[in-house]
């Protein structure tokens, strides 16, 4: 329980340090959602797979780049905990990519069909 609360506080403090970036990202995402919301449901369903593919590709790139971004390397992955942490972080970055790609692709798909 303590570790969970500690982790939440760490995430909160990190977010406080980058709040302008987070705010801009949230506004952009909401704008994307708002623009794409009007699209027909079939456009959303048709683009979930492409969005996931984009997310997976971004996750792979993130996994390769994240260690270097903090002064580490893939050769510094000492054991499974390190790999697990790296993959979890990469998956989170990929998840953000999916969150942006899906409405964006759905909106573009709808415009193309219109």
């Amino acid at each position: 329980m303590y570790e969970i609360w500690l982790t939440l506080n760490i995430v909160w403090e990190i977010a406080l340090g980058i709040w302008p970036l987070l705010l801009a990202g949230a506004v952009l995402w909401l704008a994307l959602l708002g623009t794409a919301w009007r699209q027909d449901g079939q456009h959303w369903r048709a683009n979930i797979l492409p969005a996931l593919v984009i997310g997976a590709a971004v996750a792979v790139v993130a996994a390769l780049l994240l260690p270097g971004s903090i002064g580490s390397t893939l050769s510094d992955m000492g054991y499974w905990v390190d790999w697990g942490m790296l993959l979890a972080l990469a998956a989170a970055v990929g998840g953000v990519a999916v969150a942006f790609a899906w409405p964006l692709l759905s909106w573009r798909h709808g415009r193309a069909r219109a």
Partner: protein, 458 residues
């Protein structure tokens, strides 16, 4: 914030008399404080869902020091108490994230990442006396500042930190750090920054580096080891390792107080080519000539030339504690003048209205930020219990943590208790494993954790 004017205490509504016997405060006032504290207690909870009503009290609480421990306890007490008068005494306006000094000194972080302002983290409603504590009178329950101000208290939290005793090293000049190969990560952000500059100059050419370790307790006992590991890594990356020699001079019979970690580090250093000599205490330094003098317990001296030296100063309690009744009078912590607290409750062993937090405590281990992280909630809780007329009832196990950097990009996450047992917080953590995760924690997660502790949330 204005300080309490000397001699003018009418607004404090006290009829405190000079105590003559234990308990130290006036019995009538003590009963009144206990009655006010009979309201439901707030648990020393670290999760928000367990918030309870704050304890009503008019107690005057003085916190000596505004480092991590002082401010963390102040924030917690502000949440746990309703009506208490909390006074922080410290001249320092800058708040330094000291665990980041080794990252600054080895070129991983810029110096501004370790500099903040105390004013940004102190709780609202407290009184900040911008002065240093000159003396403690635990019998009279007063603190006297350097400017002569006398401040009375009902309860005291000693959070002064340590005194870096560079004066024990003849010829040492803190202002010269960064010049002539002289380095030290301990004194300040500026010293850490100057240490990095000196390290860069050294690694560009190579030479002989001498790393030191004194025989006293240290804050962040891992720092001298981290500096040695990182220096070796910087030399390797600069391509001057073959032209260099690193010699670690320990004044003790080991390099780290936890045997399994000590043995692991020595094994690594043997592989990395870092020579170690024991029972070698740094006694003097000739900065211009770049010569250091070490002495052995037998009194033999040895001069050693260097191109770069990392000076780790002996540490002791600040004079205000060391020269007071609050210091240990006998035993292993007496020589350093450390605060005489019960190692479990962190309550003073002879003055029960006094608690200690952080590096000042005379306990077997624990001069790290991680120790404060685990002990600040306990100190605040135990103090509130005592304010309420009860006994301190939470026990501290001496938790200490040291992310021991082994090279840029990797570290070991060492956690242990008073007994020197490794106590990883998460079951999957391998303490002696070179780890990206431990490095990630050190460079990206520990400062946010520190800030949460500072604000009294963790």
């Amino acid at each position: 914030m204005t300080a309490i004017p000397l001699g003018n205490h009418k607004h404090l509504e006290t009829n405190m008399k000079k105590p003559t016997a234990f308990p130290p405060i006036d019995p009538a006032r003590r009963r009144w404080l206990q009655a006010m504290a009979a309201a439901p207690l707030v648990a020393g909870a670290t999760t928000p869902g367990l918030a309870k009503a704050a304890v009503k009290t008019r107690a005057r609480i003085v916190i000596a020091g505004s480092g991590l421990g002082g401010i963390a306890v102040a924030n917690r007490l502000s949440q746990l108490l309703d009506g208490a008068k909390i006074t922080i005494i410290d001249r320092k306006e800058e708040h330094n994230y000291q665990p980041g000094y080794t990252l600054v000194a080895t070129g991983v972080w810029p110096v501004d990442k370790v500099r903040d302002r105390n004013a940004d983290y102190q709780p609202a409603g407290i009184e900040w006396v911008k002065d240093m504590v000159a003396s403690f009178d635990a019998v009279a329950n007063t603190v006297t500042t350097a400017s002569g101000q006398r401040i009375e208290y009902d309860f005291l939290v000693v959070a002064t930190g340590v005194h870096l005793d560079f004066a024990q090293i003849a010829g040492m000049d803190v202002a010269a750090i960064g010049r002539e190969g002289l380095t030290s990560v301990y004194p300040s952000p500026e010293a850490a920054q100057a240490t990095w500059a000196a390290m860069q100059a050294f690694t560009a050419q190579g030479g002989q580096a001498v790393m030191t370790l004194p025989a006293t307790p240290l804050k962040c006992a891992g720092a001298p080891l981290k500096m040695s590991f990182m220096l070796r890594d910087r030399l390797f990356r600069a391509g001057t390792l073959d032209a260099s020699k690193i010699r670690f001079q320990s004044a003790l019979g080991n390099v780290f107080g936890v045997k399994v970690v000590n043995d692991n580090v020595l094994e690594r250093w043997q592989t990395l080519g870092i020579d170690v000599e024991f029972s070698r205490a740094l006694k003097a330094i000739d900065i211009g000539a770049r010569r250091a003098t070490f002495s052995s317990p037998e009194g033999e001296t040895q001069e050693m030339p260097y191109d770069l030296i990392h000076v780790v100063p002996p540490t002791r309690a600040p004079d205000a504690v060391k020269n007071s009744e609050l210091a240990w009078k006998e035993g292993p912590f007496a020589a350093g003048g450390w605060l005489e607290v019960d190692k479990s409750t962190l309550q003073h062993r002879r003055f029960p209205n006094v608690f200690g937090i952080g590096d000042i405590n005379g306990t077997p281990r624990g001069k790290t930020a991680a120790t404060v992280k685990k002990s600040a909630p306990l100190v605040a809780h135990n103090l509130v219990e005592v304010i309420a007329g009860r006994q301190a009832n939470e026990a501290f196990d001496g938790y200490t943590s040291c992310p021991l950097i082994t090279r840029e990009g990797s570290a070991m996450l060492i956690e242990f208790d008073y007994e020197g047992r490794l106590t990883p917080s998460l079951p999957m953590i391998e303490p002696l494993q070179d780890s990206f995760f431990a490095w990630l924690m050190k460079v990206r997660m520990l400062k946010p954790a520190y800030m949460a502790v500072l604000k009294g949330r963790v």
